[in-house]
């Protein structure tokens, strides 16, 4: 069974702070995705990283795929209350997604 562990599980910060969320696995994935999910809604895809070592930026969010394609990180600069939500990584393999354990982020004004 492929497992994706995310850390931390929960993060509560003040507006303007920086943070990093980690996603680790013992398995290699063809690509890795990051989603954000707001309460009562389905996950929304933020980014897909494909190449080992790849870095993608989406405004204040920076995503990195590990060289061995087993791990990934999400860094948010100057967090805002609108960033609040559940962040999920998902490994892509064998034509299906394996989701991580999730990181719940709360950004207070």
């Amino acid at each position: 069974t492929q497992l994706l562990e995310q850390s931390p599980q929960f993060l509560s910060i003040q507006e303007g702070e920086n943070l990093t969320v980690y996603c680790n696995s013992s398995s290699v994935f063809s690509s890795l995705q990051w989603y954000r999910q707001e309460p009562g809604e389905g996950p929304v895809l933020l980014v897909t990283v494909v190449t080992g070592g790849e870095v993608k930026k989406l405004k204040r969010l920076t995503f990195q795929f590990g060289d061995a394609r087993k791990d990934s990180s999400l860094h948010i600069t100057a967090a805002q209350p609108g960033d609040t939500g559940l962040y999920l990584c998902a490994g892509v393999g064998f034509q299906k997604l394996v989701f991580g354990t999730g990181t719940r982020l709360l950004v207070s004004p």
Partner: protein, 114 residues
Amino acid sequence: EAEVAQSPRYKITEKSQAVAFWCDPISGHATLYWYRQILGQGPELLVQFQDESVVDDSQLPKDRFSAERLKGVDSTLKIQPAELGDSAMYLCASSLDRATETQYFGPGTRLLVL
């Protein structure tokens, strides 16, 4: 913008009762997925359809859960009888085909079993 539709959005039922959830994927999407998400955790795949055929139901508790996609378009997930541990969010997603990595998720059905 096309979206995945799900209904109902919320369902409260008593244990041992039957419940059913409906999903209408984005038009033209051949692959449909049902996930279960326990509060605060990541979704877990229950069943995957390619058109009207099941291609993966290895994590579906088949003694009480069933899923169908008779015409290869919309889909129904049923639980009978419901148990307390079935309380969760049930998410439907669709993609163009199995090889496409991007899945689009519906808003989900939140189930509470009392």
